[in-house]
C-alpha cells in the first residue's frame, strides 16, 4: 500500500512523516522545505506500507512545478493523509475538498492543534468529521501528540462520495463547513506576531535583518573559534601530535608509507596544516578546522529556519534580488549554500522558472563558498589578518552582485514575482534543533570525511609518482602569469574538484604571501564546483545548462583571479 502525505506548504507534513516512519528528514518553518519526495515505511499490523512525503501544494490545479509533481503523485497513491493547518482551516480545506473529489481513501490530520487554543480558535471536531465524511485526527506533530491515533485511523480511511465541484462551488462548500464548525474569539496580537510583522516593515525590518545577520555571524565565529581554540587544537597538539611523532619514528622517519600516513615533518615536528599525511593533515582538516564551523553554522541556520525568519528576509531582499534576475525567495537556497552547495542547488526548486533556477544555481556555485571552504579560508587566510578574509568575502560578494546583474541581462525570459506565505514565528524546541543539527553534522561526517581522506591519499600517491609535476608544468603558464600563483598551486586547483577544503589546505605548505592566498581562495571558491555539486548541477539543470554554468564559472574565476592579481600584487 502506498500512503501519500499531502497538504498545503508548511503545515508540518515532514514532521509527521518523521514521526510515522522514524526516518529523519529536514523540516523547517518555511514553505518549500521539501522539494522532492521522500519515501519511508510504516508497519500497519501485518502489512508494511510505503509513506511518501509529497511537496506542499495549495491546489491540485497545478500552478507551479511543485504542485504539478504533487498532482501527478496523487494518481500513484492508495491512500492520502491530508495534513491540515488547524489555524488556517478555510484555505487548507480547499485542497481537502479537491482531494476528496478524487475518490481516494483519506484521513485528515488536523495539525498544529495546540496553536488553535492560543489563537482563540475553537473547532468542533466531531462535526467536522461528520461533514467531511473522513476521520479527522487532531495532531501536534512536533510533540508527537495524536500520532498514534493517526496511525490507528489509517484503517478507517474512507472515500465519501464527493461531487465534483467548480472552483466557486468548492469555496462555497468550504465556507459553509468552516461557518458550522469553527468559532473564533477575538484576542490581541501576541508579541511574536508583532515581532513577525515588524520584521517585514521596511525600516524596523531592515534593522532587525542587520541585527540578526550580525549576531548570526558573530555567534558562528565565536562557537567555531572556541571549539577549535579550546577543544580541538589542544587535543591534536597535546595528544595526537606525540603519538604521530612516535609513529613517525617507528616508520623510520621517511619512505613511501611514512609519506602517505604522516607526510613531511616540518623542522622535525608534525605540522597538522602542512605535513599533509593521511593521519595528520587528513584528520586535522576535517575534524579540527572544518567540523567546528559546520557545527556552529548549522546550529544557527537551523535556528533561523525553524523560527521562521528566512521568508521575512526574502521579503526584504526581494527588490535587490530582482536586479539579479531572481526574486526574494532565492535568498533561501543562497543561505543554504553557505553551508553546502549541494542542498542549495536542490533547494532552487522552490523557484518557479527554469531561468531563475539557472541563475540561482550558477550564482551559488560561483560566489557562495560552502562552510567547509569558509572554515579553511578563516583558518588559513585569517592567519595573516582579518583584512585579507574581508577581501575574499568582499570580492565574492561583488562577484555575486555583478554576475547576477549580467545573467539577468543575458539569460532569456523574465523572472516571476514573489508570492509566498510568511510563516508565523515559532519558538522551536531545543530537541528539534539538536536533532536537525545532528542530521546535518552526521551527513558531513558520513559523506565528506571519506572524500577528504581519499583526496589526501590520492594527493600523496600522485606526489610520490610525480604525476602532478607533469600536469603542473602543462597548466603553469596560466596559473603563474594570470593568477600570479606558483605552479604548484595547479595541483590544488585540480584537487578542488574533489574537495575545496582540502584543496585550499594544499596551498598551506607552499609558503604563499597573504595576497596569493587571497587569490587562491577566491579562485578556488569560484572555479569548478566540487564533484558533489557538479553531479547535482548536472541533475538539476541538465547537461546543456550545466555546461553553460561551468563556462561562466571558468571565465569568471580567471577574470576575477587575474584582476585580483593585478590589484593586489
Amino acid at each position: 500500500m502506498k500512503i501519500l502525505l499531502m497538504g498545503n506548504p508548511n503545515v508540518g507534513k515532514s514532521v509527521i512523516f518523521s514521526r510515522l516512519t522514524g526516518v529523519q528528514v529536514i523540516a523547517s518553518n518555511y514553505p518549500g522545505t521539501t522539494v522532492s519526495y521522500t519515501q519511508g515505511f510504516i508497519k500497519l499490523g501485518e502489512e508494511t506500507a510505503e509513506i511518501i512525503d509529497v511537496p506542499g501544494t495549495y491546489t491540485l490545479e497545478p500552478t507551479s512545478d511543485a504542485e504539478e509533481i504533487a498532482s501527478k503523485m496523487l494518481n500513484t497513491g492508495d491512500l492520502v493523509i491530508n495534513v491540515v493547518d488547524a489555524t488556517n482551516l478555510e484555505r487548507n480545506l480547499y485542497l481537502t475538498f479537491q482531494l476528496l473529489e478524487r475518490n481516494i481513501p483519506m484521513v485528515v490530520a488536523l495539525n498544529m492543534w495546540d496553536d488553535t487554543e492560543h489563537q482563540g480558535i475553537h473547532i468542533d471536531l466531531s462535526q467536522l468529521q461528520e461533514l467531511l465524511g473522513v476521520p479527522v485526527i487532531p495532531t501536534v506533530a512536533v510533540t508527537g501528540q495524536g500520532i498514534k491515533e493517526l496511525v490507528t485511523a489509517i484503517s478507517r480511511a474512507t472515500s465519501p462520495d464527493m461531487p465534483l465541484r467548480s472552483h466557486d462551488e468548492r469555496w462555497a462548500a468550504v465556507g459553509s463547513i468552516v461557518e458550522q464548525v469553527q468559532r473564533v474569539t477575538h484576542r490581541h496580537h501576541t508579541w511574536l506576531e508583532r515581532l513577525g510583522d515588524a520584521s517585514v516593515r521596511p525600516v524596523t525590518g531592515g534593522i532587525i535583518a542587520l541585527a540578526v545577520l550580525a549576531i548570526a555571524f558573530l555567534v558562528i565565529r565565536f562557537i567555531g573559534e572556541s571549539l577549535i581554540g579550546y577543544a580541538l587544537d589542544p587535543l591534536f597538539e597535546n595528544l595526537w601530535a606525540p603519538v604521530m611523532l612516535r609513529f613517525s619514528d617507528f616508520l623510520g622517519g621517511t619512505g613511501f608509507l611514512h609519506d602517505i600516513l604522516i607526510g613531511q615533518l616540518i623542522g622535525g615536528e608534525v605540522n597538522f596544516v602542512e605535513s599533509f599525511g593521511l593521519l595528520t593533515t587528513g584528520l586535522y582538516v576535517p575534524f579540527a578546522m572544518v567540523l567546528p564551523y559546520i557545527l556552529s553554522f548549522y546550529l544557527i541556520l537551523g535556528l533561523l529556519e525553524d523560527v521562521g525568519y528566512l521568508p521575512r528576509l526574502a521579503v526584504l531582499m526581494d527588490t535587490i534580488m530582482h536586479r539579479l534576475g531572481l526574486h526574494g525567495y532565492a535568498i533561501i537556497p543562497t543561505m543554504l549554500g553557505l553551508g553546502c552547495n549541494v542542498p542549495a542547488v536542490l533547494a532552487t526548486r522552490i523557484l518557479e522558472s527554469r531561468r531563475e533556477r539557472f541563475i540561482a544555481a550558477t550564482l551559488i556555485s560561483i560566489a557562495i563558498p560552502c562552510a567547509a571552504l569558509q572554515a579553511m579560508i578563516i583558518g588559513l587566510v585569517g592567519h595573516h589578518g582579518g583584512q585579507y578574509v574581508a577581501i575574499v568575502y568582499g570580492t565574492l560578494f561583488i562577484v555575486w552582485i555583478i554576475l547576477g546583474f549580467i545573467l539577468n541581462r543575458v539569460a532569456r525570459g523574465f523572472s516571476p514575482e514573489l508570492l509566498i506565505e510568511i510563516p508565523h514565528y515559532r519558538l522551536p524546541p531545543w530537541k528539534t534543533i539538536m536533532q536537525k543539527l545532528w542530521m546535518r553534522v552526521y551527513g558531513f561526517l558520513r559523506e565528506a570525511i571519506p572524500i577528504i581522506l581519499a583526496a589526501v591519499l590520492v594527493i600523496n600517491i600522485l606526489l610520490v609518482f610525480g604525476v602532478f609535476d607533469a600536469i603542473a608544468s602543462f597548466a603553469a603558464p596560466v596559473v603563474t602569469t594570470v593568477l600570479g600563483l606558483p605552479k604548484e598551486a595547479v595541483t590544488a586547483l585540480i584537487i578542488g574538484f574533489l574537495r575545496k577544503d582540502v584543496a585550499l589546505g594544499m596551498l598551506a605548505p607552499l609558503a604563499l604571501t597573504a595576497e596569493q592566498l587571497v587569490i587562491g581562495s577566491v579562485v578556488l571558491a569560484m572555479f569548478f564546483p566540487c564533484i558533489a555539486t557538479f553531479v547535482v548541477l548536472y541533475r538539476e539543470l541538465g547537461v546543456v545548462n550545466m555546461l553553460k554554468s561551468m563556462g561562466v564559472m571558468i571565465i569568471a574565476a580567471l577574470l576575477v583571479g587575474g584582476a585580483l592579481n593585478l590589484i593586489l600584487q
Binding site: 488556517n88 478555510e90 484555505r91 469555496w171 510583522d197 517585514v200 526584504l316 514575482e417 508570492l419
Partner: protein
C-alpha cells in the same frame, strides 16, 4: 459601496483593512491567489510595503502572505471606511 472607493492593494496604507473586490488580469494569477485564500469577498489587512516597489505583505485569515508589487497592483480592494 461605490466603485470610486476601490483601490489597489498597492495603494493601501499599511494597517488598512478591506475586502477584496476583484483580481484583474489573467486567470492564472486569480487562481494562484485564490488557492492561497486571497479571492473576491475575502477580508485582508495590509501589513507592510517595501521601498522601491517591493513586495506587499498582507494578512488574510491567520496567514501572512507576501505579494510582488506588480501582482498587488492587480488586486482591487474595497477599503474599510477609516479616518486617516
Amino acid at each position: 459601496m461605490s466603485d470610486e472607493k476601490q483601490m489597489t492593494l498597492a495603494q493601501m496604507h499599511p494597517g488598512q483593512s478591506g475586502k477584496v473586490a476583484q483580481i484583474q488580469g489573467g486567470h492564472g494569477l486569480a487562481e494562484r491567489l485564490s488557492a492561497m485564500g486571497i479571492r473576491p469577498g475575502k477580508r485582508i489587512t495590509k501589513v507592510s510595503s517595501q521601498f522601491m516597489r517591493g513586495p506587499v505583505a498582507i494578512q488574510v485569515d491567520r496567514a501572512r502572505v507576501a505579494i510582488g508589487f506588480g501582482m498587488a497592483k492587480r488586486i482591487i480592494v474595497e477599503p474599510d471606511y477609516t479616518i486617516q
